[in-house]
Amino acid sequence: MNTLIFLARHSLRRHAVSTLVTALSAALAVGLTLAVFGLAVQTRAAFMGGAGGFDAVLGARGSQLQLVLNAVFQLETSPGNIPWSLYETVKNDPRVAEAVPYAVGDNYYGFRILGTTLTVRDALRNSSGKPLELEEGGRWFNEEDREAVVGSITARQTGLKVGGTFRPYHGLAFDPSMQHEEVYTVVGILKPTNTPIDRVLFIPLEGFYRIKGHVLRGSGKEYVPKENQPIPDEDKELSSVLLKLKSPQAGFNMDYMINKQGKVATLAWPIGRVMADLFNRLGWMNRILVLVAYLVMVVAACSILAALHNTMRERRREFAILRALGAKRRTVFASVVTEAACIAALGALGGYLVYGLLFFLAAGLVRAQTGVVVDPFFFHPALIAVPIGMTVLGALAGVLPAYQAYSTDVAGNLEPHS
């Protein structure tokens, strides 16, 4: 084996440029394949586990997926609103441990504004499962005042700081012509949670209702909140309610009660299953990406074959010399296969760098778009299997050139006959 490595090392050094170019193509192939596997697995895990400690989402009658994407991942539009009375009912249900109301409909430069109560402070969790923390000098809002607590990404990208003020824009998409008159003061910035709430602004629910232009339809009729008058509960409405349940059995019961028997609302439970359904439905896309990545690996292996094949003619004398020195045919064959495998293995090592770069870029994009953080240091069997697979493919690509080397006529290639 030492001799094979010795021969391969010298040949690779001698054909350094061709080796580098070929290894680079293998590196790109390995990096791409690892990124496809890694991002698919990590994104799925991040989205399925990104419910911030909540078990279910209650919302208007409609799609469970839309409800979860809207309430948990801040991605979709709200399927509609539910009356306050329903929130009161589930909040007081003995099967429910915690209920956090959300009202959405405004934004600040595209970052969603969530009207909620202070229950959010204790109920939400960061990606490590720990309670939310505020940056130094911050506090949570007073429910009676126009105050806001801002997520870390929102603060960084909008430049909002504690003591700063802002005026919300109507709607979920940013439209400069739709700015509200009310001025909110930032009283706290959340430390990064690595969840979608890094991309929101929390304001008191009462204040949200009272923003000029907001119309409530909790009772079925339109109600415009009046200054200095309490808002009747029957007129209030919510976009969704995040629920923590006391047991899985509670989930089964409530699912049956709300989704099967009821006609007013939808319970998305469990959140992980709803997201799993989404990823399963998108599975075909991932399979195509994996197939493309595999094809790129095969192309890289073909480039190794071509690179070695092109040098075989000029290397016939080299093989003849090796044979004349006592190398067996199988040694010469194995040395070329080893050389091909080494090029692929070099590429596989480089593939980790390419993977790191691709993952870094893609993870940044996912975080910027959703707030979800994918872990760059997670382990997945593909991290081992793909580089090994590339090395094996490379070795197989070396078989044809190796056969050419194996078949070299020794006497005819040593030197001219005298």
Binding site: T3, A324, A327, R330, L414, E415, H417, S418
Partner: protein
């Protein structure tokens, strides 16, 4: 003790126009341990083919080749490769050093196929050849004479019983050629290896006490001359 014994050795090649062309036909040839023999012959007389047969690179059509008492002609190719690496050293006309390897690595390479890498011995061989300052030089960085000395060191790497040298002075000037042959003879004597040199260089041949004319040895040439006449 005979290091090399050849009996009724025949080798033919296919002719371009069809049929076969006999290149080697030697009834008997032998070398004793420590012998230093030169085979004199013109280009195209079959000397290199004879060396390839003796070294097992080519398989004879018929006849016997015994190396240190072992029948080379009866062995399969892999066996001949093994015997060649252990019992023979080969100095080629063009030296045939591997260009991507240093002097030291070229010598170690031969050891890898024979007795195993012994760096100390490889270094001492190169030093004996006067190359102590050229151990880590690549062939392109060496003069022709230095390349030839590396080739000799490589031929002696596996403590061979017999060193074959094919036109060893062909690429050297007169003075360097004589120096090379003298050194080759000295080191073969020192390391206990018999030496068989084939050449058409009269100057080189004059340094050997034992010179055999290949055209007398090789009956294939007689046949050709007979046909021609």
């Amino acid at each position: 003790m005979k290091v090399l014994e050849v009996k009724n050795l025949k080798k033919s090649f296919l002719s371009p126009g069809g049929g076969t062309h006999r290149v080697v036909d030697i009834q008997h040839f032998s070398l004793d341990s420590g012998d230093q023999v030169a085979l004199a012959g013109e280009s195209g007389s079959g000397k290199t083919t004879f060396l390839h047969l003796v070294s097992g690179v080519l398989k004879p059509d018929s006849g016997e080749i015994s190396l240190d008492g072992k029948r080379m002609d009866l062995l399969p190719e892999a066996g001949r490769d093994g015997l060649r690496s252990k019992l023979l050293g080969y100095v080629f006309q063009n030296f045939n050093l591997l260009q991507g390897m240093t002097s030291l690595e070229n010598v170690e390479l031969a050891m890898r196929f024979g007795t195993g890498v012994d760096k100390e011995r490889a270094v001492s061989l190169l030093k004996r050849m006067g190359l102590s300052e050229r151990l880590h030089h690549y062939p392109r960085q060496l003069s022709m004479g230095q390349q030839q000395r590396v080739a000799v060191a490589r031929a002696l790497a596996n403590r061979p019983k017999l060193v074959l040298a094919d036109e060893p002075t062909a690429h050297l000037d007169h003075v360097r050629g004589l120096e090379a042959v003298t050194l080759m003879r000295e080191v073969c004597r020192e390391f206990g290896a018999a030496l068989l040199v084939v050449s058409h260089d009269r100057e080189l041949l004059s340094h050997f006490k034992q010179v055999e004319r290949f055209d007398r040895l090789n009956r294939a040439l007689h046949a050709q001359q007979g046909v021609a006449s």
